[in-house]
Symmetry: C2
Subunit: 285 residues, 2 copies
């Protein structure tokens, strides 16, 4: 990414630094970058913002979002805790930078001419990235959505719809909708993964048969109430909707459904909004 673009944080984030020290820091960073382009670096800096962010990402990858503390990152870098604060305004900013950095590592492909395939690829790749870095889902909810690299990716996605004569608003809505679907799926899947490691911790000492017994007892307890016939049917069929094997299929299922509906709307053969089974034929061939 061009260094110019580093400044393309949406206004409220660009305005983030609150105190004078931080403002000085910002200015110096920018100057430093520019000078760094012309001359060789004046001295080997022991710390840099990028190094801090990468370290934080590495720690988060290995041990989860909770392991990212300022003291821990500093220890990892053999630096004093407060040294980090010269390069970074607050932990909040560090988390924002971590997310935006991941966006940069996951740049969307050039348009192939087939918007549907492109969107599928984006969706699959987002999902893969989010799974490789599950801490992202912990942060994403409580944090504003857009840094510069995110902008770059949105721009790419919008280009997928070039030549279809689409209203740009529709293109944005489509892109957002697919994006939100992926977020929902991964949110759920991360939950499930958390449950699994949790189960591991809780039932870990039990033998396989004991574990099955615990689960069997649970099923039995549900059945005994008589109030959950459908769930009992699912459970005794041995179908675990959250099992790892079914996840990919479930993801593709929902994605296909969504893209079918989108394709219908793009084709302009939009059925009357929202009632009944009239859309059954909406699948393109």
């Amino acid at each position: 990414m061009d260094t110019d673009d580093e400044d393309l944080w949406v206004p409220f984030l660009a305005a983030r630094p609150r105190d004078k020290r931080a403002e000085r820091l910002r200015a110096h960073l920018r100057e430093d970058e520019r000078r760094g382009q012309r001359h060789p670096p004046r001295r080997a800096a022991a710390l840099s913002r990028d190094e801090i962010v990468r370290t934080a990402i590495r720690v988060a990858d290995a041990e989860g979002a909770d392991a990212v503390t300022m003291r821990r990152i500093a220890r990892e870098l053999n630096a004093g805790t407060m040294s980090l604060y010269w390069h970074i305004v607050s932990k909040e900013e560090l988390l924002d930078l971590m997310l935006d950095t991941m966006q940069g590592d996951q740049e969307n492909a050039e348009p192939s001419g087939d918007w549907r395939r492109d969107m599928q690829d984006v969706a699959r790749q987002s999902r893969r990235t989010l799974h490789e870095h599950p801490w992202m889902m912990d942060l994403i909810g409580s944090r504003p959505p857009v840094g510069p690299r995110t902008l770059r990716n949105i721009e790419r996605i919008l280009a997928y719809f070039d030549g279809l004569g689409l209203d740009m608003r529709l293109a944005i809505d489509i892109s957002t909708t697919v994006g939100t679907y992926v977020m929902g799926v991964v949110l759920r899947e991360v939950q499930e993964r958390n449950s699994e490691t949790y189960t591991e911790q809780m039932l870990g000492e039990l033998s396989e048969t004991d574990r099955e017994k615990v689960i069997g007892e649970f099923t039995e307890r549900v059945r005994a109430t008589g109030r959950y016939p459908h769930l009992v049917e699912v459970m005794s069929a041995g179908y675990d909707p959250d099992a790892a094997e079914t996840r990919d299929a479930r993801f593709e299922f929902g994605l296909d459904c969504l893209l079918d509906g989108i394709a219908a709307r793009i084709a302009g053969a939009v059925p009357p909004p929202a009632t009944g089974g009239g859309a059954a034929g909406g699948r393109p061939g």
Copy 2:
């Protein structure tokens, strides 16, 4: 909800209490409940688990998830901080209970006979609930998905597909898919809301015209790079994809797309009682 069902936590959560005190607590709670049914309560207890959870929810509603600390909840109840720990094993459990309680407050309607309308209602109601209690999204990601009231709601949803001769596995996948879509949408919308309050804090002192100037400068900066033609088109058209007015429409748009695709698959899956070949595959690679 029947008190019997209170115990229907999935096994790994039922097994949660780790130390002896907590195990004693669990046993006592259950006994207490049973005896409480027969006799009038032996004395007016100053604290109860339910009271604690409700208070935590109230605090979270008013001031967000971060405001929920053990000390704060205790203060709110005029109790000692550690008193809470007799009724609740850990803060983790409190958060789980908060989420499950919300599930109970949002019970799905009885089947109407029109699955599509029912699913739409469920989706809209989930979204509404999550927006009324935005702290839920902060917790949901890092926490296992199922308490007893969640089970109840899933059971209800599965009943919507009765009479269609649907494979229960397909019904589960459909329900999950719609659920995850809603989660994704709300996750995004909560992000946007956070951004807005953030903007409020950052640019709050500025006059309306100054604020527009800031945003205009940002647009100009993006345009100047020459690398974001689509985004510039959107921004200068004055279309803010995250604006409050467009959110409902965007939500309904995606939901309709998704339900169209699902309807097609239901229509395709019903005639042959197929093994998902017609339902899940279908798309040429």
